[in-house]
């Protein structure tokens, strides 16, 4: 029984551990070296899915700290990734409050909204308050591939949820 409870805790912490690991490690989800235009913002997919499905597994404070770590590793001004992640949480929570049943299509569409708001804030702040230049073409590719890959990760996370965590979703 005790062993099961420890295992459950580990499974439940899986998404949060993955988020922290993605933010702090060298591991990235950009395949620029092999396929030049492929870049993906995996963190926002991860946050959006779990905030929508199981917000109890993704505490706001942890996401905020993961954002700060991401800023340090990537060299962005502190707090900018946290802000962008918090916008994702906000949209996710709002959608969760407003909807009863969600499908992959509705989640995909609302994810697009969340990503637009989040990236708009992120790049507006970066453009106006830092010296970092960025290519709009790369932002476009990044958003496109993040959106494109969302259903794939949605299915994978759903499988993880059903297999290891159990469906206690509303």
């Amino acid at each position: 029984m005790a062993k099961n409870s420890i295992l459950n805790k580990i499974y439940n912490s899986g998404p949060l551990i993955l988020l922290y690991y993605l933010c702090i490690s060298e591991m990235d989800t950009n395949l620029e070296k092999t396929f030049e235009i492929f870049t993906l913002n995996f963190q926002i997919i991860l946050i959006y899915f779990w905030v929508l499905k199981r917000p109890d597994l993704m505490a706001n404070g942890h996401i905020f700290i993961a954002g700060l770590i991401n800023d340090v590793v990537m060299g962005f001004p502190l707090g900018i990734s946290s802000l962008s992640y918090l916008i994702i949480i906000f949209v996710g929570t709002y959608v969760r409050n407003k909807s009863v049943n969600t499908t992959i299509a509705s989640d995909w569409f609302t994810f697009l909204m969340a990503m637009i708001f989040s990236n708009l804030l992120f790049f507006s702040l970066l453009n106006n308050f830092s010296d970092i230049s960025f290519s709009y073409q790369k932002i476009g590719y990044n958003m496109f591939f993040t959106l494109f890959m969302f259903p794939i990760f949605w299915l994978l996370f759903n499988v993880y949820q059903l297999t290891f965590i159990g469906n206690r979703d509303a």
Binding site: Y21, I24, S25, E26, M27, D28, N30, E32, K33, E36, T39, P55, D56, L57, M58, A59, N60, G61, F64, G67, L68, I69, V72, V73, M74, G75, F76, P77, L78, G79, I80, S82, L83, L86, I89, F90, V91, T93, Y94, N97, K98, L125, F129, S130, D131, I132, S133, F134, S135, K138, I139, Y141, N142
Partner: protein, 281 residues
């Protein structure tokens, strides 16, 4: 109508202010906190600089440790392959060693001749003080679509200052853009924010601008200048930071510059401590 407006405002307020259960903080309070941290960092209030430097040092070390498994697995594959090929490699190396022994004499003669000629020209000999060349290990090389930078394990404690040029095997790699006590961030030549003055084989001057891809481009070339393939590009040294004549890369048929050092394959780099004595930007 009013019911749907009420629904909207309830859901909106709940999303911003809701706490309880796993959520110890509301989204709104964290947004305010993130904004405060952001503006403190951007406007560089006096106490934030050392705090940020300390956080950077700690996080970079943790990142290095956390990335060990991701670095270990590909390395294991490489090690296994090289173990299998070790005999053949040994034979090849012996042949190469003999070749280099013969070349060494020539190199010594040419180096002396070069030194003498530089003395005649009264120019600074680039490698005259090797104690000012600092070897640094790459701690973090996170591939980002927006920023092309690496973190090295030498900081202000070792004398690294902002703006110092970074080389690998005497080829230019980038420059220092952020210094902490134990680590520094290097902006690579292919980053969108990188601009350095260069000179081409035929004497033309230009600015090498990072394009975000692996191949930077040449800007501000003389009018009607046609870029040919396989032209060597060197740092011109006009900015007073990069030593003039440091090789950078070669032009290709598209007019881009193929760097001599692959920015994705850096594990050790050298910092040239000679160039800058004081951080003034």
């Amino acid at each position: 109508m009013s019911v749907s407006r009420d629904d909207f405002s309830i859901a909106f307020r709940s999303a911003l202010l809701k706490r309880g259960g796993a959520q110890k903080f509301s989204v709104l309070s964290l947004i305010f906190l993130a904004l405060i941290i952001f503006f403190l960092d951007v406007y560089g209030v006096k106490f934030t600089k050392p705090v940020r430097a300390f956080i950077n040092d700690v996080v970079y070390r943790v990142t290095f440790l956390a990335s060990t498994p991701t670095r270990f697995v590909p390395q294991l594959g490489k090690d296994f392959t090289s173990y299998i090929n070790v005999r053949k490699e040994n034979e090849n190396l012996k042949i190469e060693l003999e070749k280099y022994k013969l070349l060494e004499l020539n190199v010594e003669f040419l180096a002396d001749e070069n030194k003498n000629l530089q003395k005649i020209l009264e120019t600074e000999y680039f490698n005259k003080n090797l104690s000012n060349i600092l070897l640094a290990k790459v701690l973090v090389d996170k591939n980002s679509p927006f920023l092309k930078s690496i973190i090295i394990n030498k900081g202000t404690r070792a004398g690294v200052l902002k703006g110092m040029p970074i080389t690998k095997d005497n080829y230019l790699v980038g420059r220092v853009v952020e210094t902490n006590y134990l680590s520094s961030r290097i902006l690579l030549l292919n980053d969108l924010n990188s601009r350095i003055p260069v000179t081409l084989d035929q004497g033309a001057q230009a600015i090498l601008s990072g394009s975000g891809s692996n191949k930077p481009i040449l800007e501000y070339l003389p009018e009607d200048y046609e870029i040919l393939e396989n032209i060597n590009v060197f740092a011109s040294g006009k900015d007073g930071i990069f030593a003039s004549g440091t090789p950078v890369g070669k032009t290709n048929d598209k007019g881009e510059v193929e760097l001599f050092v692959d920015p994705n394959q850096l594990s050790f780099v050298t910092v040239n401590l000679n160039t800058i004595k004081k951080e003034d930007f």
